[in-house]
């Protein structure tokens, strides 16, 4: 079944199969998934554990490749890119927000946020200006010189969000971004991302079980046993 949410897409999967080999057993991650995700929207992928949410995010994030089918992100068929080109593509186009924040512990909040700009070769003066602006946008201007272990969970997640948005990517992928946060902090983080989406015109794709996050979604994709079983657009 072809699942299309909108005409203007940021990513498109066509007949994608992903199978993992675990010892002698083949585990189906995704099976025949065809999907198009709308640009500049807040898409949430929901489903039980082991349903294929993370596999789908990995493929969208160009950190994994399908066994069958094609994956296009921002119009680029990722199968045509070699490892270095994929790295550069991710550096330019895709932002990641990890469940456990995954900040670099030896870098300060400022340096963590600045890091993606270093990878894309942004000049020093511009880097500084944009990094400070982004830190202020996530209300962490006063924590610029703090290392991750000196920040609370919510603050770390805001740094992670700032890091994912600093390069103004076309697509931000987040795997359970509120899973390790309390309800209040999670709500604040969602509001922040929503604001960023509006101001930076970025497309967000999340995997989540969080009902709070689903309430904010423009589009919701439900996945089970590696297959998409439902797609819904908010009213």
């Amino acid at each position: 079944m072809t699942q299309t949410i909108a005409e203007e897409t940021v990513a498109r999967l066509n007949g994608v199969d992903k199978i993992y080999r675990l010892g002698d057993v083949d585990v189906v991650g995704l099976k025949g998934v065809t999907l198009a995700l709308r640009r500049q929207k807040f898409t949430v992928i929901v489903g039980p554990s082991g349903s294929g949410k993370t596999t789908l995010l990995n493929l969208l994030g160009c950190i994994d490749t399908p066994n069958l089918g094609t994956v296009e992100v921002c119009g680029q068929d990722i199968a045509t890119l070699d490892d270095n080109q994929l790295s550069d593509f991710r550096a330019m186009k895709i932002g990641f927000i990890f469940q456990n924040f995954s900040l670099i512990p030896v870098l300060t909040a400022y340096e963590n946020v600045e890091y993606p700009l270093l990878l894309t070769g942004v000049p020093a003066a511009e880097r500084k200006e944009r990094t400070l602006a982004m830190l202020n946008a996530v209300e962490l201007g006063d924590k610029a010189n703090h290392r991750p272990n000196q920040l609370s969970g919510g603050q770390r997640q805001r740094v992670a969000i700032a890091r994912s948005l600093i390069k103004e990517p076309a697509l931000v992928l987040a795997d359970e971004p509120t899973a390790n946060l309390d309800t209040r902090t999670g709500g604040a983080i969602i509001a922040l991302m929503r604001r960023m989406q509006e101001t930076q015109h970025t497309s967000f794709v999340f995997s989540s079980h969080d009902p709070q996050l689903m309430e904010w979604a423009d589009d919701t994709v439900t996945i089970r046993d590696g297959e998409i079983i439902d797609m819904r657009r908010a009213a």
């Binding site: 490892d83 456990n100 995954s102 512990p105 030896v106 890091y115 993606p116």
Partner: protein, 466 residues
């Protein structure tokens, strides 16, 4: 990713597990200290051996062609008649002159030394030299080794005064007369020849008493030296023995006789033309050795003198054997230390990669290329090596200063007297530089394997590593 930033991150990463990094750094430093201290000690051995040889026998000797292989059995036929001219040519040559500290004649001969009063004799190896030149030669100390100078006490004016080895003094029953310590006493003649007439015994006793009285009065014993002249006739000279001097090893100690050149010439050449078996040449610097050899060969060829040049390496094979042995031991130790550093850093970096797998995945997801990941870990290994090597160098320098200041002494093989135990670390900048470079290269190479493993991780697997 710019290199300075990579270095900065790698440096900070060293402090994430400061204890482990410290142990690794200490391992590298220990390797460096061991190599530098032993290298410094070996350098000291080389310098002391070289200094000892150059002090006594110069850097090189000029012989008549064929002497080196056949002349020992027939010194008379291999003499250099124009040795004065040879020395003058060496000293006045514009290339050689500035290199040369001293050129002096030497005559080596074999014969029989006898103390006929005691009725004892034995074969000897005699060396005739100019005492004042020997004193100058003994002052050579290019490496500041401060090896004690053993003066013979001979002077140019005393034409029949010489020295003998401890062993020869013992065999010729000169120990009492020369006041040689720890010298075994010969069996008494009375025990050996119980049947000797009492009159003769009385005479011998009186003579011995007179000899002892002469010694007490400051006179020195005399021995007779018998050798064949260049014409093949037996010749004999008398030598006043000034002192007995330890020659370092038994074989030489039991045959050595040092005498003025004139006396040796008188013994071998009689009234004939005075010759020398070699011209000993001492240079300012050992580095000039082969330059000097080339020039000497060129000069002798031009003059058609039929002379050949032998360096102290040729004349004393022990030097090359000893230095070769110490080089092998040093190489073995260096390889051992290198292996320890290699495995320590591999172990540390493997643990680092394992612990930081998720972080590697994160960096790769953010867009860091494989090569940049590889570089990050290699730089970490290199930094561990640099810090460890630098600490090792500093520690070795401090330790060497302490050792040198403690005035320890030791007795090298074939040496007569104890010499200062010194560890020449600071005097060997090449050793310091190469040890530092080697440690850093080993640490960097050690990091390469774990770094490569980090770079080859797939992003997905790395991110989901538990």
């Amino acid at each position: 990713m710019n290199l300075a930033y990579t270095v900065s991150i790698a440096f900070r990463n060293l402090f994430r597990n400061a204890r482990r990094s410290s142990i690794t750094v200490l391992s590298v430093a220990t390797g460096g200290i061991a190599v530098l201290m032993f290298g410094g000690f070996v350098a000291n051995i080389f310098h002391s051996l070289e200094t000892g040889l150059v002090m006594s026998g110069g850097h090189l000797q000029v012989f008549k062609q064929g002497y080196f292989h056949f002349g020992a059995g027939d010194p008379a036929s291999y003499g250099i008649a124009n040795y004065d001219e040879v020395m003058q040519t060496i000293k006045s040559d514009p290339q050689l002159g500035p290199m040369v500290t001293l050129a002096t004649p030497q005559l080596t001969l074999f014969g029989v030394a006898g103390n006929f009063k005691e009725g004892v004799s034995r074969t000897f190896l005699g060396v005739g030299f100019i005492p004042s030149d020997r004193r100058k030669m003994a002052q050579w100390d290019r490496y500041d080794m401060h090896i004690p100078i053993r003066l013979s006490g001979m002077t140019d004016e005393q034409t029949d005064v010489g020295i003998v080895g401890y062993g020869l003094a013992r065999v010729l029953h000169l120990c009492d007369a020369l006041q040689v310590k720890d010298c075994p006493q010969p069996p008494k003649k009375a025990e050996q020849k119980a049947a000797v007439d009492t009159d003769i015994q009385a005479l011998a006793s009186a003579e011995a008493q007179t000899a002892a009285q002469q010694t007490q009065a400051g006179d020195h014993p005399k021995i007779d030296l018998l050798a064949a002249t260049s014409q093949g006739a037996p010749n004999i000279v008398s030598l006043t023995v000034l002192k007995a001097q330890n020659q370092g090893f038994k074989e030489m100690d039991e045959v050595f006789v040092g005498m003025p050149l004139g006396l040796a010439q008188k013994l071998i050449y009689g009234r004939g033309t005075k010759q020398a078996t070699s011209v000993v040449v001492q240079l300012n610097d050992t580095d000039q050795l082969y330059q000097a050899v080339d020039r000497l060969n060129q000069l002798f060829q031009e003059k058609g003198w039929g002379l050949e040049v032998r360096t102290f390496h040729d004349l004393t094979p022990f030097y090359d054997q000893a230095t070769g042995m110490f080089r092998s031991i040093f190489a073995f130790l260096a390889v051992l230390m290198g292996a320890i550093v290699l495995f320590t850093v591999i172990n540390t970096m493997s643990m680092v990669v394992m612990e930081r797998t998720v972080e590697i995945g994160t960096l790769r997801a953010l867009g860091l290329r494989r090569n940049a990941v590889r570089l990050l870990f290699i730089v970490e290994g290199a930094l561990l090596g640099m810090v460890g090597a630098t600490l090792g160098v500093i520690s070795a320098i401090i330790l060497s200063i302490l050792v040198n200041a403690s005035h320890l002494t030791w007795l090298p093989p074939n040496n007569v007297e104890r010499i200062p135990l010194r560890v020449n670390v600071t005097a060997n900048p090449d050793l310091i530089l190469w040890t530092w470079i080697l440690l850093v290269v080993i640490a960097t190479l050690s990091a390469f394997f774990p770094a490569n493993r980090a770079a080859r991780l797939t992003v997905v697997n790395a991110l989901h590593q538990v």
